[in-house]
Symmetry: C2
Subunit: 82 residues, 2 copies
């Protein structure tokens, strides 16, 4: 399954609880899109959040985040990994 | 140890071998800065590369990538993770 890294740029001040809750919402709605969110990393100071997911395509990843109420600013198909 | 996500924006066309070699160069020089590069994900089409590392601070991460010959465009302290 293709792997995607997506980026959110406006989550300044996000707390650990809010990140957990946002991730929980992704997990709750991802099934209909055959997406599996794996991990997420946040920098509350800059507002940057990076999410790693597997899914059929970038649009499916976008739809899950949008459905969950926090649309991604960018989604990249990361076809290489070390 | 603090965790960092860094971003490279100009690696369009990077191959699997080149990503592996870039990562190997980071591992080779990271010891002097007490940095440990964990994983990296690349999108050859957009040229975006994301690297996950542990280290004492963002400047140490920057120095390792610079020493290895591929300076990062951005380095974010990702203090939250799910």
């Amino acid at each position: 399954m293709p792997v995607f890294m997506d980026v959110h740029r406006n989550m300044r001040g996000i707390t650990a609880d809010e990140l957990r809750e946002a991730h929980r919402q992704d997990l709750e709605v991802q099934g209909t899109e055959h997406v599996e969110f794996k991990r997420a990393w946040a920098d509350p100071e800059s507002g940057m959040v990076f999410c790693l997911a597997e899914g059929p395509d970038a649009d499916a990843v976008r739809r899950v985040h949008a459905l969950a109420g926090h649309p991604a600013d960018e989604v990249y198909p990361v076809t290489l990994e070390v």
